[in-house]
Amino acid sequence: MEADRPGRFSDGRSAAMRKVVVRVLATGLEIRGADGFLVAVWKTGDLIADGDWPEKRGIRLRCASEPDARLAVEDAYVIREALPQPPAPPRRKRHALVLVCLLGAGVLVGLMLGLAPGSRLLAHLVPVGLERQWGQSIATGLEGQMKACEGRDGLRVLDALARRLAEPLPAERRQVNIHVLRSKDINALALPGGEIILFSGLLAKVEGPDELAGVLAHELTHIGQRHVTAAMIRALGVGVFATMITGDASGLVASGLGAALAGAYSREDESAADLGALSLLEAAGIGSDGLVQFFRRLETMEGRQGQVLAWLGTHPESGSRAAAVEARRRPEPHLPALSDTDWQAVKRVCSKPKP
């Protein structure tokens, strides 16, 4: 059988290409130069298919024992027929795809399981002084945007009430500053460290000192459990993580994912703060009736349009919150949260001091 085929050969040691004649033997390919000198012998078992050579209707081959050498053979049908077994095609790896899918799933699961505990742990590693400084700078910023209420007696009463409620908290969490800001929003915020912001809209809606104590206890729990710092770390973590995984430095993916996850986690924090408020109120002897009442009233207001109920935030089911708090209530003798004169001072905290 005539099995000599012209071809091109590079030996992998230099970039030269030489024209060769390829002869098929029983054991493999014999590659000779145009001058007849033997250039290489490639064993059949070592041959690796390396694609087609379209313009010459040929194939390209490599050899496992000489990985850098390249051979192209014209009119390769002869070669294909003459070889005892077809040259092995390069192995296509499918396991990369499977591994990457598993990796992606693992990352997702790890994020879901590890994010909340991880951020809580990290939040407790943040030095108290730093957290406090941070909270104070945010509070100063807010006071610059909205007017602060400066009824001195009222603020003093609020501070005293907060201190009384904060008694069971760890010592470094007990120092709280209360700011009252003029705003129609029915809202209260806990900032990192020990700053609590009450909006005048909330003070106007609160009926009686027990309800006010309930709101304060709720915010104090946020502070005691460092929810805000943990939330910031969580948001940062999600952002860094999303950027890391997707390599998207523009931050689009990060901010989108952060917003989507923030709601889910803040719900957990709110329930935790409700429960914490319960124990703070009981320890102070005030009882949780006020908190329940406040929730109940917010619930009836929720139906109305145009009401700004920001205190409910991402968690609008005040009915179920009230029920949850009520379910854990223990009947105990109540002490008044504030005396009548003190309560009046709080109510007047935002009115202009009389000349």
Binding site: S10, R13, A15, A16, G247
Partner: protein
């Protein structure tokens, strides 16, 4: 070889758009399924198609990089560089909040470092790509240092605004010379002595047209405001007309002179590159270059970046079509090099800059 050697066009590209678009879409699906982690393997497949479709002197070019290398490179940079920088920035932020002036200093140093690292990353990515490129079984490579390149880039970034743009041709050519003088094939270096001296005529036109464009834009904006006031047309309508007119003016006034300059740049650069006795040439023309760039922009924008591999394919085809070589280099003198190149690839640029990848 003498300059009378006939010019050859040894490069050809046989890749079809259909196969590339199909691959880009498959990569998209797999990336979505894997939280985008597939991108390293997807990119590798795209490159295999881009490189593999290219042939030089009748023999195909091979891309031998793997997705695993890109992925490991990415992870290394993520943990050793990106996270420390993010941590440093957070610390600087804390210092700033606390009113410590050190915070501002730390922050500016870190920003400068990040910008430099992008340039280092670009250079190292090129080293990786060269080392994973084979032809006739011989590997390419790149010498030189990423930091050297980054510092040169920094000099250029400072010089260009200071000179009102006039340092750009010189700076670009300086960096290109550094890249090509450090490019190797086997054990031999490319050399590049291209200079920007012949380019300033074209750059003058591009610079003037930029000035002209700014004037026309200002005039149009003033005119649009007047028209809106007098005719009582709605602002949105006038704004739309203004934008369309400005875009047309930009193409006429800005794009063509700029493409003319870029084409001249590539001609100059190619004419300065030599390898083993052969001189390169690039038959770059302004009109065709503008069509290529505009087409690639349209493809990338309208597909939200998904069909960027197709744009890369167009660039490869264009390169193969215009690059010529005077004579054939003495390939028998080129031997394989022992330098296997970096073990992992492109992490810096994958982390710090998502753009500019094939």
């Amino acid at each position: 070889m003498s300059s009378s050697t006939p010019l050859q066009r040894p490069f050809a590209h046989s890749g079809g758009s259909g196969a590339m678009i199909r691959l880009a879409l498959v990569n998209l699906v797999l990336s979505v399924v894997t939280l985008s982690l597939w991108r390293f393997w997807g990119k590798t497949r795209v490159r295999r198609l881009l490189w593999g479709g290219t042939s030089a002197w009748g023999d195909p070019v091979e891309y031998t990089g793997t997705g695993k290398e890109l992925f490991i490179g990415f992870l290394l940079v993520l943990f050793l560089i990106y996270l420390p920088i993010v941590g440093g920035l957070a610390w600087a932020q804390v210092l700033l909040v606390a009113g410590n002036p050190l915070g501002g200093l730390v922050m500016s140093v870190l920003y400068l470092l990040t910008v430099l690292l992008v340039a280092v990353g670009l250079y190292r990515a090129r080293r990786y790509q060269m080392s994973r490129t084979r032809w006739r079984g011989i590997r390419g490579g790149q010498t030189g240092s990423g930091w050297g390149y980054a510092l040169r880039s920094l000099v250029m970034w400072i010089a260009v605004p200071l000179s009102l743009g006039w340092a750009l041709p010189w700076g670009e050519m300086w960096l290109a010379r550094y890249r090509f003088n450090n490019t190797t094939f086997g054990d031999r270096h490319f050399t590049c002595d291209a200079s920007a001296s012949g380019l300033y005529g074209r750059f003058f036109l591009a610079w003037i047209s930029g000035l002209l464009f700014a004037l026309v834009a200002a005039f149009l904006a003033w005119g649009a405001a007047e028209v809106a006031r007098e005719s009582g047309l709605s602002e949105a309508r006038v704004g739309f007309l203004f934008t369309v007119t400005l875009a047309v003016v930009a193409v006429v006034v800005l794009a063509l002179p700029w493409a003319w300059y870029r084409a001249g740049f590539y001609r100059n650069l190619a004419a300065g590159i030599r390898f083993e006795g052969s001189r390169f040439a690039a038959d770059a023309g302004a009109w065709r270059l503008m069509r290529l760039v505009a087409g690639n922009m349209v493809i990338s924008l309208f597909s939200l970046g998904i069909l960027r591999p197709w744009a890369s394919l167009r660039t490869f085809r264009y390169g193969c079509a215009i690059i010529g070589v005077e004579g054939e280099p003495d390939f028998a003198a080129v031997h394989r090099s022992d330098d296997a190149g970096p073990k992992t690839g492109e992490g810096l640029i994958a982390v710090l800059d998502g753009a500019g990848e094939f």
